[in-house]
Amino acid sequence: MLIEESTDAQIDLPTGNVVLVIGPHAAQEAMIELAGGLVHLGRVRVLDGGNQFNAYWLARSLRRRSPEMFPMLSRVNLARAFTCYQMETMLAESRSLSVPTLVMDLLATFFDESVALPERRRLLQHAADHLRRLCQQAPLAVGARPPIPGSERGELYAILREAADQVWEVGAPHPAQPAQLALF
């Protein structure tokens, strides 16, 4: 599925599926827009692996949709991980709730070359198992960067791809068509 980077459309995230959203910068903007859309329906949980959550962007997105910006911001629960160990622990400690979960830039911490590749593979495999668990009761989307084939990063991406039920690719927004003014 191809979605636009700055879409305003309300996207239905299916429960029971791991939805992988890939795009430049781990589809950062699309994930924040997604959070902005979901928060209208209730609470949203954001787990951030790449320090990508930008409260200002979300506030802008919310303001476009509703005057109730501050109560909406309070509905977003956020936790950040800065290492792959923390990311795996964070997912392991996240309870399966009926609240949609957005995992931003999941692979960022797993790209840290100071941790041995087999160790990162092992932790990512655990993380993928937790994603499967967390999507059972509520929608779950995971942001990631496009894979680089043949690289170490490509190998890690493949583990995540394996755990995903759907892949959404974020494309650049369509250029606006020049509007033809009506004469009458």
Partner: protein, 791 residues
């Protein structure tokens, strides 16, 4: 004790040894260098489900290394309580790595503690003897160390001086620039020049010097990245062993180069060569060598507990981390192998308020006279100590815990936390050092030593805050990091209110500093009541950085109405200059432009008062014109025109052919490669290439330089400091290139009639439509004339 020899001396090195367990080197008072050894068992811990720990127990029982296994409980800082652990005691420290590796590989899901701690820290925690500590040792004639007792603490201000023997070796040229031809070797009062070819005599001479002099420190330039690897290669090729190590039983340790991110920058650390029984320090690969040199390195080794060779090459952050680990070991707190503690979940609204950083109040642009610069002394570390900010105290909802401003979180101040415990003596020693420095005359050699220490301390204290939020910090926690900035913002606002209550105008606030002025206040004593009041309301140490005769806060280059934080220059009452954010502070400014800018500033600094500045302008402009003339006449040495830029990416990752990318490509074509984090040096030249990489074999002649480009940079640097006086870049360009001379009175110009052959202009008309200088009959009105921004 009967049969034991006793001596006093300095602990200079220690390492694990498969045969001797732990080797300890002592530089004795009487000049002897002692290689002692002792048993030193080491314990690491594993935690996790009981069944998994039982499996690990069974697994380790069949390990080939002699081990002792026991169940027990140890305190986990993040859990806030003692947790059940399996303690694995390894008899020989050299076995620790292999045993732990086998356990972690077989049981990766267990949590491990105390597994990768530097040996010198463990030793300091167990014996009290730290790197370079002056100790009393008792040992058997066989060299077995039976007792060691530290006779001092790391916090002494006058530890006994270390009688080191130093052998300094330096090639005649930077090896990345051109192949060196000879080495200069200095030992004691002797200096030798050794040709690199033929190689055999070189090796023989070096071997003789090493044997005869037996240095404690081999101090090199480019020793890590070129000299020692090259000497080892030659030694191998000619089969002439070179006794680089003092311990003949050990091999030289080589560590690979690495690239990492730190504070948003790519950092490159060259490969390293470590010796056993003596130290090797490479000035070019040492961390902050230019800031604190050998004295700072030795002091850092004393207070961090890290080995000298390590501390010379690691960041201050690693030093702070080591100090925290040492505190944890002494307190019986587990040191996690990998921190798994995650950030507490919070609402986006809370994050909005919490993740703010330091407070900045943009400056009032322009020139101001009689301004006090006031700084909180090590503000963030002081906050951490005063408010007890530590990973285990922030968010601890215990009775009596205090609310943190803005964070909806509390901090427990009932018991000192691990981080404040670590920082308190450091902070106290730094403040004491500052007092001592202030009381010593400039000629006193002790002053230089204390200044190096103070610089090392400054870096440690600067990084201790960042380390609270650093992902790999063993005792970091993002909430604690945010608590520090929250208290910092609150503190600065309290200080601002105190200043305004006393009638001061706050010109600028920047994280931990403020600049204030009040009509009639121009002496140190005039600001003392304000300092007292701020100390009273904030309860944090504050100091007067100085009273400026005048200070100029600069605007943005893109929009003259926009102020820029922390970009200023000014002159204190003693005539000393302080500059921030201007060209001469930037690494990528060619040296000659930095020098011209500083020379102009020093000339302006000669003005006793802001009112006397106009009289200094002609001199400053004269300097500028001479520099421009020298540049155009090719009188600036080519080496002074080198631009240095730090690479943040590889050549393939560059999207445009920037000067740095072009230089990198040229070096690549010549077989020289640079990695992100390293610095590329180049010259701007005329022609299609536009730049010439400095480290190519050939050097272009002065006439090949792109003089226009350098002139633009020069004029920009000049206008950055003259702009507050009303002289914009375009005006300067007209003056410098047009040959007009400013006489210091509005509307009065005269042509320079060939006085400066470099410019060689003869009779030219004066520049048209120039704005008048901001001088008038009423005198100097700098603030009112050029102020913009908040007013």
């Amino acid at each position: 004790m009967a049969g034991l020899e006793e001596r006093a001396g300095w602990l200079i090195d220690l390492y694990a040894d498969p045969r001797d367990d732990l080797v300890v080197w002592i530089l004795a008072e009487d000049g002897a260098r002692l290689r002692l050894h002792q048993p030193f068992p080491i314990t690491f811990y594993a935690a996790g489900p009981a069944a998994d720990l039982r499996e690990l127990w069974r697994f380790l029982q069949s390990d080939p290394a002699p081990l002792h296994l026991a169940r027990g409980e140890r305190h986990d800082l993040f859990a806030g309580r003692a947790i059940p652990v399996l303690a694995v005691r390894v008899a020989c420290p050299a076995d620790l790595g292999p045993v732990f590796h086998r356990a972690a590989e077989r049981f990766p899901d267990l949590t491990y503690y105390d597994a990768d701690i530097t040996l010198s820290l463990r030793y300091a925690a167990v014996t009290g003897a730290f790197s370079l500590s002056f100790c009393r040792v008792a040992y058997e004639p066989s060299g077995r160390l039976r007792e060691i007792e530290s006779l001092g603490t790391p916090w002494e201000l006058d530890p006994p001086a270390l009688p080191l023997r130093i052998l300094a070796v330096e090639p005649d040229v930077n090896p990345s620039h051109a192949p060196p031809q000879r080495l200069t070797v200095c030992c004691g009062n002797h200096t030798y020049s050794l040709d690199l070819r033929p190689e055999r005599p070189l090796l023989l001479n070096l071997r003789g010097l090493l044997r005869e002099h037996d240095p404690d420190l081999l101090l090199t330039t480019w020793g890590d990245t070129w000299l020692l690897p090259e000497l080892m290669r030659l030694s191998c090729e000619h089969r002439l062993p070179l006794p680089l190590n003092r311990d003949p039983c050990r091999g030289v340790i080589r560590k690979e180069e690495k690239v990492y991110f730190s504070y948003g920058q790519v950092i490159h650390r060259g490969q390293q060569v470590h010796l056993a029984g003596r130290w090797h320090i490479d000035r070019a690969n040492a961390m902050l060598w230019g800031d604190y040199g050998l004295e700072g390195i030795f002091e850092l080794a004393r207070i961090t507990g890290l080995p000298v060779q390590t501390v010379a090459r690691t960041s201050p952050g690693t030093g702070i981390s080591s100090m925290q680990i040492l505190t944890a070991l002494r307190q019986g707190v587990l040191v996690p192998w990998h921190k798994q503690q995650t950030e507490d979940s919070r609402s986006a609204m809370d994050l909005f308020y919490a993740d703010q950083g330091g407070l900045v109040y943009q400056p009032l642009i322009g020139l101001h006279r009689d301004v006090a610069g006031i700084d909180f002394v090590s503000m963030y570390p002081s906050i951490m100590v005063h408010y007890n900010i530590s990973p285990e105290t922030v968010g601890a909802d215990r009775p009596g815990a205090e609310e943190i401003p803005e964070l909806h979180m509390r901090v427990d101040r009932s018991h000192p936390g691990l981080v404040p415990l670590t920082l308190k003596p450091l902070l106290e020693k730094r403040i004491e050092l500052k007092h001592r420095i202030a009381g010593l005359p400039a000629w006193n050699p002790q002053r230089k030593r204390y200044a190096a220490w103070a610089s090392a301390y400054k870096w440690l204290l600067v990084t201790c805050f960042g380390y609270l939020g650093y992902k790999n910090a063993r005792f970091g926690r993002i909430e604690a990091h945010q608590a520090v900035t929250a208290y910092g913002r609150e503190t600065l606002l309290l200080a601002k209110e105190a200043a305004e209550e006393q009638g001061f105008t706050v010109l600028h606030l920047y994280v931990d500093g403020m600049w204030v002025k009040r009509p009639g206040a121009s002496q140190v004593a005039d600001f003392q009541p304000l300092l007292d009041r701020i100390a009273e309301v904030t309860r944090l140490p504050i100091a007067l950085d100085g009273v400026y005769r005048w200070v100029a806060f600069l605007p943005s280059r893109r929009d003259a109405r926009m102020p820029v934080a922390n970009r200023y220059f000014g002159v204190f009452q003693d005539g000393s200059l302080k500059t921030r954010g201007i060209d001469s502070r930037r690494l990528d400014t060619p040296p000659f432009i930095s020098r011209v800018q500083m020379a102009m500033l020093e000339l302006l600094a000669g003005a006793e008062d802001a009112g006397a500045l106009p009289a200094k302008l002609p001199g400053a402009l004269g300097l500028l014109r001479r520099a421009a003339a020298d540049l155009r006449a090719g009188r600036i040495p080519v080496a002074d025109c080198v631009v240095t830029q730090k690479l943040s990416r590889t050549l393939e990752e560059f999207r445009s052919a920037s000067p740095a990318a072009r230089a990198l490509a040229q070096l690549g074509a010549a077989g020289k490669s640079l990695r992100p984090g390293q610095r590329v040096r180049f010259l701007y030249i005329r022609g299609d290439q536009r730049v010439h990489a400095w480290d190519l074999p050939d050097t272009p002649p002065p006439e090949a330089l792109d003089h226009e480009r350098y002139l633009t940079l020069l004029l920009r640097a000049a206008s950055n400091i003259l702009q507050p006086l009303g002289l914009e870049e375009a005006v300067l360009r007209d003056w410098v290139l047009g040959g007009a001379v400013y006489l210091g009175l509005p509307g009065c110009w005269r042509l320079e009639d060939g006085l400066d052959p470099g410019v060689g202009l003869g009779l030219l008309p004066p520049p048209q439509n120039l704005p008048l200088p901001i001088l008038g009959d009423t005198g100097w009105l700098p603030e009112e004339s050029v102020r913009a921004g908040r007013d």
